[in-house]
Symmetry: C2
Subunit: 720 residues, 2 copies
Amino acid sequence: MRNIVRRAAILFTAIATAGALSPALAEDGYDLWLRYAPLEEASYATPRHVMAACSDPSATIDAALDEIDRATQSMLGEALPRADTLQGGTLVLASPECSGMLENLPLPSSYEVGVDGYAIKEIRHSGRQITLISAQSDIGVLYGTFDYLQRMARGQNFTGVNIVSRPKTQLRLLNHWDNLDRHVERGYSGQSIWDWHRLPGYLDPKYTDYARANASIGINGVSLTNVNADATVLTPHYLEKVAALADVFRPYGIKVYLTARFSAPMELDGLPTADPRDPAVQAWWQDKANEIYTYVPDFGGFLVKANSEGQPGPQDYGRSHAEGANMLAAALEPHGGNVMWRAFVYSAEEPEDRVKQAYTEFVPLDGQFADNVLVQVKNGPLDFQPREPFHPLFGAMPETPLMMELQITKEYLGFSTHLAYLGTLWEEVLSAETHATDQRAPVASVIDGTAHDYEITGMAGVANIGSDRNWSGSIFDQANWYAFGRMAWDPDASAEAIARDWAELTFSRAPEVADIITGLMMGSREAVVNYMTPLGLTHLMGTGHHYGPALWVDDLGRADWTPYYYHKAMKDAVGFDRTETGSNAVDQYAGPVAQKWAGQDTVPDELLLWFHRVGWDHELDNGNTVWEELVRRYDLGVSQVEDMQTVWHSLEHEVDAERFEQVSAFLAIQHQEAIWWRDASIAYWQSVNGLPLPEDVAAPARDLDYYKSLSFPNAPGQGE
Amino acid sequence: MRNIVRRAAILFTAIATAGALSPALAEDGYDLWLRYAPLEEASYATPRHVMAACSDPSATIDAALDEIDRATQSMLGEALPRADTLQGGTLVLASPECSGMLENLPLPSSYEVGVDGYAIKEIRHSGRQITLISAQSDIGVLYGTFDYLQRMARGQNFTGVNIVSRPKTQLRLLNHWDNLDRHVERGYSGQSIWDWHRLPGYLDPKYTDYARANASIGINGVSLTNVNADATVLTPHYLEKVAALADVFRPYGIKVYLTARFSAPMELDGLPTADPRDPAVQAWWQDKANEIYTYVPDFGGFLVKANSEGQPGPQDYGRSHAEGANMLAAALEPHGGNVMWRAFVYSAEEPEDRVKQAYTEFVPLDGQFADNVLVQVKNGPLDFQPREPFHPLFGAMPETPLMMELQITKEYLGFSTHLAYLGTLWEEVLSAETHATDQRAPVASVIDGTAHDYEITGMAGVANIGSDRNWSGSIFDQANWYAFGRMAWDPDASAEAIARDWAELTFSRAPEVADIITGLMMGSREAVVNYMTPLGLTHLMGTGHHYGPALWVDDLGRADWTPYYYHKAMKDAVGFDRTETGSNAVDQYAGPVAQKWAGQDTVPDELLLWFHRVGWDHELDNGNTVWEELVRRYDLGVSQVEDMQTVWHSLEHEVDAERFEQVSAFLAIQHQEAIWWRDASIAYWQSVNGLPLPEDVAAPARDLDYYKSLSFPNAPGQGE
């Protein structure tokens, strides 16, 4: 971070001496990373024409051609003309389905690009130099087109270009937690973009732009509704609306999924039970699936949250998750649909350690799920915290395809006003080694199917998209949507490379600007960890809404919803003992991992209090006690935000005023809230441990009672 | 309407023969009537420079100059240069507060322009021909500037211009029914635009554009919160946010008001009572008012819904509305604030006729209200129906300033997808003659204070503004916001002239296009009346959400919330007898009015079933029976929507694609819903009266059970 501050200072000086720059045009963020900013010079090997290799292109190829029109109009000042016959300098789109007009085009093999990968190559064909975007399917061509246009927008040199890319996962989904009344659970960017009331009669152009944005990063599925599900969406009145959205998304290769409320047969049609062994219940779901496919012939399937946080499920009838999932899977199977069954479950009976339960519940079911079921597992065993260890299920279910569920919306990382790039969080999880096989088997190899030879693979991201003009509530939160798509396509991708691509597309091709923004992003999540939950602390947020600190709460309906449950701070010690002297959750990990994390000396500081209960005077490698280090990290978090403000300020003349001002205002909010987190946390810990503050550390601005007195009944995104 | 269809056909032909036109640029409606479309030729007497007559202009004069920059940049291709010294062709802004730089400018007198009116005149000054926008206050200059720019945008000739305009009412307010969680009661355009969570740290540029739009039509106050009030907005945490909005609005002459929950002293500070005679309660409100003014020095005052639909109020303690209002008024009085006390009250005990109750309750209180209290009365005695007679309170409270409350949001007129211009509805009410004085005393003369010499005057409109990109949910609903401002400024204004101005500003200066759109608008509200509630029928909408027909509902918690209560249809007769043989509500009107409406032969057909209960075979002047005429009007309503579709279609090449498509989609929804209204209504009436349909009328598409079976749990805008 310091390095970035220095660079920013240099840039700032350079700009100041260069005199007044022409002010950039205001941008409101609607265009996302598809802004296609004008290219100063028509750069390297820019094509002069475009053509599709077929006379009657599909809607998908048309979408690719439209995108080329739009992008080149914006970047080059006029849209590339369409060529009827092959000329030198033509950009050609081709696939097996789109190939009649040109003979002997060298299409890539399935082996190279799979079903929906693509190749972008400069070749000579019929004596002419052309750039060919080709694939085994039209949707592959569309993906290749988006990649090509984004590279052009980043100023890439296409001379001799030879790119082959294929996704490592098959199902790359956004999960919207959107209710039918347009409330978004954990949404911080306005209402749901699904305007159910005006559907199907009105198709907001935004739906198409949403599909474009998703296709541009390879997302190929969207679950429209909240996992805390409302069966109403399965009625004809709503299926008509769902079908209208599916029609908009189809050319962009995006399938629609719905959340299935397990008790729907009872609620919609008065069945006396939802027991998955009951033949009437099975028949109901089969009929319902058949009905859905009449509305949406390529319906993707069901996403299910069952027997979790009050949702109904098969356990209500003494049946296992596998039985429940398989019943739905059987209904979808004739149509090619999948079930995504969430592993985010924990007992209503509050056993000793909530983070152990998904593993305990699901591992015994390994091998029992139908072939078209995926089990969807959150990145960590708790709940999308700023930092968690990877989920112990990864690597522990070799016979069951596991999808990873990431949360793009920042429920626990400051909502939409804190700048926190999640690419680094996800990279940390994906690169973590499970040691599940002879190889080190990083989590990514579980997700992409290579570790256990899964037949189906996927990744889901809980969307941060809403009705706000900029989609995600803030400009920098757009980066998390972007990074999710990129990492679902390639779970081994580099968070830094993705950040840089995004920064270039979103703000500026100028290398010094992209450097600074990338640096800002790369350090941002760790800053949040520092001012909220350093050293493996977790889940200290305000009750229900998760806004701000509430470390002191210990009296909710169930213990494992309270911060106290997670830190157990007392006069002498702090932390959750998950070694064999405690809950032994650490034992759910493979040997080498468990061994490392079980030792107070071998566990990394970042996970210390997650796995261990230690004295406040426990000494860390750096010589600080836990208490000293905690306080130091809070302070560090605050100063990191101050650095981010300094860095951002240096870009004032590099970014249009509207986005510059919004980011500035949000950073100021983040700074204020980081101080709030630090001060409230320190005040609380001191009330428990009675320890003095290390020298040179300022006392909290207010007393603990003040922080306890704050209430936020209208904080956004709450469950309803 | 037929006439408009013919004109549209002619235009369509003209365009078709002229060949392809250049496609208009897509517009999303964000710019409202302030689009400032480019002028083809720099037209009549366009100024060449602009200057303010002061060296240190106020924020308000700066706002006027900024608007001139923006508008001329857009209309003329470059912003008018600012002049330092007077030159020929300069546009000069001047007021008593802004006058130092030019001597002897002829400012208009208070008599001419009042506090916030203005004059726009071409004059010679110091030997130079200039255009002078001047007023008695800077805000008057801003109003004049907006008028000038809108006239320029409509292509007006300014040669020898000499315009003087002053508002006829003092307080021109929008009432937002916005909850603190951003839900908008009766909102059909997304969430509340007040992003409370991100305030005060983030000031969305939208807030400034909102203020600009309001100032451009003379609106000078805004009540931010729902009349079904939440006391939380009166806490410091929220007052800080309110102050931030007030700071944005101040340069635009817009004061902030809040809704005051009568029980706030109990809810916020645990007082045992909210009795207005209790000194502790009085002191609480005085302290609260003092506190509010420390945040917002020019706070406008309180809007109060008390003892109405479950809201607490003075009657809970046996005190009158006047006592309740006066307590709040006393708290505001030292600071210059006002109380707007709503007369929309009806007993929880369901007496014989709900529409009589406000009159019964308030007339005896005439003269008892403090000087800074206005009583705010809805246009009609029921609740913003497609058609009602004017409210009998108008003219009946000579000692109490009555504000009119209009509903801009279309709770009962098809939400945001039905095209219904409300200017004609409001004009009908404002021009209705109360006969309250020797003169005929139209309602407008009560509102503007002339009928009874009110000291304060005002008009309030329940806003239709939300987070939708186009502000109002549809393009044509923007016209209702616009018309409200214009009619609050001048209650005698012509609905047609306003429609035409709006059409020119919003769509096109081309006279044939503006003609067509104006015609479309002028007939639109009557179409809604025809397909929903013809012949004086009323309140037949779906329970709670008011979406679609529900004539059959007769079993709600209280009778006067059911449609049946309002139509009382039986085998032999239909309608509500409000003559002396019934509730005698008609007697609340002055003699000549009561006399006319009390007679079955003298009441206009439009109000027949509002005031009378008649047989289905009752014969109307046109020879039709009530039954025949009802059916005919439903059919007419549907065909009027079809005409609107035809007319709109003729404008395809005159309007940008984005707005054209949205309006087209909404008209298709309206058409479908008009048919639904017609068919469901006819099916229900037939189930009651057993009468055959007149010849040539098609039977309803579905049976009554089908219409009864429809349910819309997630319809937008419901109370919470």
